[in-house]
Symmetry: C2
Subunit: 483 residues, 2 copies
């Protein structure tokens, strides 16, 4: 920083010596006696209503006197009075603090109660093993990234995201997923949900009313609700052993999970890829590619991104949620050029842009290949877990009729239940008795109480537990399936 | 991390020894000769289309062979061929990389061109001095925060934000701004724009159509557009020397800047505060308090948050944009209890929640009072700049007719122009000739080409430049006003 601007060292020193905290008090103007009473009332009220929390340190009497225009003696007298009343405590060496249990504090908390107790064994799909989050690597990358940027990086930025991250993603997505991804067709978003919501709104603006969006059946109900909340109408697109069907009604867009259909795990068949891109070219419809676990492929023949074959028809959506952790809320859209400006504008008026510190950190992590190394190590870890899952459930010791599907990639498998039972409801009851939380196919259908005779299956998120908890969770699942 | 889960040290070592990067290639199955040609085509195509950027390092031939099922000799032959063709380069010690200027690469970049050159002197309002961003303190707080949390903090979290930040904000906002802010009435958002957009949508859902929202006139045009994009209808609320008027038509909400009206700088008069809260109680309408610079008050009598006097009628919105930096995209809403659940749901379906690392870092910074110290130091800095602004423009050496208003607080002042000129348009032309960017009142009216005889003024963001650049920017402004 340039310091040619004249500063007063004495003033700066005084500013820093004071260790108390900022305090807002509403004091009416008036005589000193009236103002002392007002100060006492204001402090008492602040403690009672919980505005001043137990343990909060008050400003020194000297500073509060200077700030309020009262004499220091008046402030001291007010502090003494409230200490006598039990609202405040004088602590040796740390001044005056709010007492631990002031009368009448702790108003009842409105809103949601605390989260439910976590299950003993957690094989629910949707999350990676968060014990594997590379906190130290993330912090080191953040330090390097912040050291390298000009201070303008801390101001408002480009709604499309930082150039650093868009450049790093362009290289990474081209290299690893076959995505045609120049930095100028990328918009950084705060996760998949935001990307889907923004796109739905943009398609609605282009149409003048809510867009009609095809979504895989079965598929994730949460994402259907995201589309509906953004004004879209959801139409089911049936999934079979080749993935999503290509015999489509009139639609503005279709949302697909081509690499590893969620939740069945089948990859989109090449004939379907061809038919769907042909539909998009002919109709002008958009294919939305949810590449939620594309980094985790365990076979030699990888499934490249659909976007690489039809970059002007496909909106590609990826995130750091499965590779690093969902809490980062970092995702990216790779867009046909005509959609970049409308999506960036929708982003601008939604939240301006995604936080820059996370973006710059991820860019650094990708550029120095720490991201590649982490993904590769995670892939190895999850592949071992998948192998163990298959061995335990479908190996020689497994129960006939139980099949483990969708295992070529991803972080979850579909475990089909034998025709003679247990069915999903029974399996979930048995799991609950084991303290095991696991997904089931049932809730993923667009019409959950639809046709009888639908396949019955559990969705097993084998990445969810920590390394230490996985064998026990798997043992619990095995007991459920043998019952 | 628990490591009772069996791992193979040999496999892990192999996984880490390999330094190349991940690479996706679409290779059809077939004979080895056909597949070598396919590999060459795939690599050539990836470089030509820019999917593999110049300088990208390719996997070793050993690893690519293992991944593709080709022999190592076949992969080597393909690399040699492409090196001969100029697409790849063999670099001593770092393997095979993509050549610097492959033929036909660098497709034209669609979308927006690069940002315009920054002005020589920047006194535009809206940003703090970002050279003052406490990068080291932020990183230290991040390290402490991440060391303290369980790994579940890296998974999906509460849409309202982390409990750590909501608890820290409750204490801070009560103490410094007089806000009634239990953690359960707080929803953490990604900045002010998101808070305003979410609230507009929620009010629209309650109403079954777009809400009617009163907004100050003059006020920030960008925020009016945020409300419109979220489905709201904007109605002007005239501002006079007492702040926003209280003679309101039928409205669902009024957006106010009570501490320091933007852009005129007047605080909302106590009589108006009373009238507006009375209106809200009688009509059920919502008062939205945009406390965009409430931390920066320079006078002894602070202006407390409106929310403190009517917590069930006011939605309080604050951010870290002016105290730390806009790039963080961190803000908070303090809500009447009845609005917490609908706003949290709107947040969930918009982007799930705000990134947790930033939230945890800010919570740590507030809890250990580094945030207070930074705000206090920034306040001292900006107060000196304000004093210099007033001295130069309105002191004995200043030009008669020029007044500096709205200076009790905040990061910007309204500099009214003398009746005999220059008017705003002329002043902006003179400023441009000086290389000075500065705001003007004109664009802030709801109907910019409305009544003649409106006051003419410049909006001076005296916090925007770095310390080193401020005196020169101020000198340029002085020349403009003396012209």
């Amino acid at each position: 920083m340039d310091d040619s601007w004249p500063t007063s060292p004495a003033a700066a020193a005084e500013e820093h010596r004071e260790t108390g905290v900022d305090l807002h008090l509403d004091l009416p103007p008036g005589t000193s006696h009236g103002r002392r009473a007002a100060l006492e009332r204001a402090l008492r009220d602040a403690v009672r209503r919980g505005r001043l929390a137990p343990g909060s340190r008050l400003p020194s009497s000297r500073r509060l006197a200077a700030e309020t225009g009262l004499s220091r003696g008046t402030v001291k007298a007010a502090y003494d009075q409230l200490t006598a009343e039990g609202y405040l405590t004088a602590r040796q060496g740390s001044g005056t603090v709010v007492a631990d249990r002031p009368q009448g504090a702790s108003p009842p908390a409105p809103g949601r109660s605390a989260a439910a107790r976590p299950p003993r064994h957690d094989l629910r799909p949707g999350s990676p093993d968060v014990t594997f989050f590379p906190a130290s690597g993330w912090l080191r990358a953040a330090r390097r990234a912040l050291a390298a940027v000009p201070s303008a990086a801390f101001d408002y930025g480009d709604p499309r995201g930082t150039l650093q991250l868009r450049t790093a993603l362009a290289e990474y997505l081209g290299r690893t997923r076959g995505v045609v991804a120049e930095p100028d067709r990328i918009v950084v978003v705060s996760g998949y949900v935001q990307g889907l919501a923004l796109l739905t709104r943009v398609l609605g603006e282009a149409r003048g009313s809510g867009p009609v969006v095809g979504m895989e059946d079965p598929g994730l109900p949460f994402h259907r609700e995201v589309v509906r909340r953004a004004g879209g109408t959801v139409v089911p697109v049936p999934v079979d052993e080749r993935g999503a069907g290509a015999d489509l009604p009139e639609l503005d867009a279709v949302v697909l999970t081509p690499a590893h259909q969620y939740p069945t795990g089948v990859p989109l068949h090449p004939a379907r890829r061809h038919a769907l891109t042909a539909w998009a070219r002919a109709s002008g419809g958009i294919l939305v590619e949810d590449d939620y676990d594309g980094e985790f492929r365990y076979d030699r023949q990888p499934v490249g991104a659909l976007q690489g074959t039809a970059p002007d028809q496909v909106v590609y959506l990826g995130t750091a949620s499965k590779t690093l952790g969902p809490a980062l809320r970092l995702g990216w859209m790779v867009l046909p050029p005509r959609l970049v400006r409308p999506v960036a504008e929708a982003k601008l008026y939604s939240d301006y842009h995604t936080g820059a510190v996370g973006q710059l950190t991820l860019a650094e992590l990708i550029a120095e290949h720490g991201y590649d190394r982490h993904v590769r190590a995670a892939r190895l870890r999850y592949r071992r877990r998948r192998d163990l899952l298959v061995e335990r459930l479908a190996g020689p010791a497994g129960r006939p009729g139980v099949e483990v599907r969708g295992i070529a990639a991803g972080l979850q498998a579909l475990v089909s239940l034998p025709a003679e039972g247990p069915d999903e409801a029974a399996a979930l009851r048995l799991a609950a008795a084991e303290g095991l939380a696991v997904g089931a196919l049932g809730g993923h259908w667009h019409t959950p109480d639809g046709a009888a005779g639908r396949p019955q299956g559990l969705i097993v998120g084998y990445a969810t537990p920590g390394e230490g908890g996985y064998p026990a969770a798997l043992a619990a699942l095995t007991r459920v399936l043998r019952a």
